[in-house]
């Protein structure tokens, strides 16, 4: 009788602590940058980034290694969107938006314009364009994150870029555009 017959076959745990840490090191910067475009605050973006990975860890029994990256981005975007909605509601209730008349000192004119333009995008366009710019994922992967077909990703991204180009003008020139 061989040892394999004596011991039951042990399937490896789907998601170990080391795998989470390695995933974090690989994705932290990208997730942070994506989430920042919802919250526009570094502390909040770092907090939401952490929360997304903690949630993935909490559901690790159901996590598959081949889809974990998409899962992290999906959770992060949903958390950021919820937090942004809650903050807007809070600002409305406390009238903070009316009293906050001066912008933070580190926000230059360009950053303010970009923020206003991105904020004005409808949620579904913002998701596609921000993930497309900062997640490093392909259109197919973004489609998997958002649960939409690849073609819809492309058309929404095209629409979002058109709106941003309209609002931001020359700022929105692509990196590989012959300017």
């Amino acid at each position: 009788m061989t040892s394999s017959q004596l011991t039951p076959t042990m399937t490896p745990a789907p998601f170990e602590r080391a795998a989470l840490e390695s995933l974090y090191l690989r994705l932290e910067r990208r997730v942070f940058n994506v989430v920042y475009r919802w919250l526009w605050n570094e502390d909040d973006a770092a907090e939401v980034t952490q929360e997304a990975f903690a949630k993935v860890w909490a559901m690790r029994e159901r996590v598959k290694s081949e889809t974990v990256e998409a899962l992290v981005f999906r959770i992060a975007v949903n958390l950021a969107s919820n937090r942004r909605r809650a903050r807007r509601l809070w600002d409305f209730v406390t009238l903070e938006a009316l009293t906050a008349s001066t912008p933070p000192p580190d926000h230059g004119d360009t950053r303010r314009r970009v923020r206003a333009a991105v904020d004005a995008l409808p949620e579904k366009l913002r998701r596609v364009v921000v993930l497309g710019e900062l997640s490093g994922m392909t259109a197919k992967e973004i489609g998997a994150v958002l649960g939409i077909p690849e073609g819809t990703v492309a058309s929404r991204r095209h629409a979002a870029v058109a709106v941003l180009r309209d609002r931001l003008g020359a700022l929105m020139e692509a990196d590989d555009d012959p300017a």
Binding site: Y24, A45, V130, E133, T138, V161, L164, M172, A174
Partner: protein
């Protein structure tokens, strides 16, 4: 995909993220253990207690020599036929003890 890095510049996340994540993951695990202790353990204990109660109250076999559902009777059936009672009504008079008679009147 084409990038627009002037509109979407890459920012550096605050340092120390991995250490904070390790701390947070430890909290998640601690919360799981507490949840287990607070919910699963009492549930199992309650289930075990219910099982013990059911087993303790299960019907026991009758004592030797006594058939199931057999029980001693106070009154033996009287061999006497329905008798005419006082007032003319017909009924059954069953003596159940000396000087004690049980009357049944339909």
């Amino acid at each position: 995909m084409t990038r627009h890095s002037r509109v979407f510049p890459e920012l550096d996340p605050p340092p120390g993220g991995l250490a904070r994540l390790r701390e947070r993951v430890g909290l998640v695990d601690g919360r799981r253990a507490r949840l287990l202790a607070l919910t699963v353990v009492p549930s199992l204990a309650a289930a075990a207690a219910a099982m013990a109660l059911v087993i303790a109250r299960a019907p026991r076999p009758p004592p030797p020599g006594l058939a199931p559902y057999d029980h001693p009777s106070l009154a033996e059936p009287s061999a006497t036929a329905p008798a005419v009672l006082a007032g003319g009504a017909r009924g059954l008079a069953v003596p159940i003890a000396p000087d004690v008679v049980l009357y049944w009147v339909p």
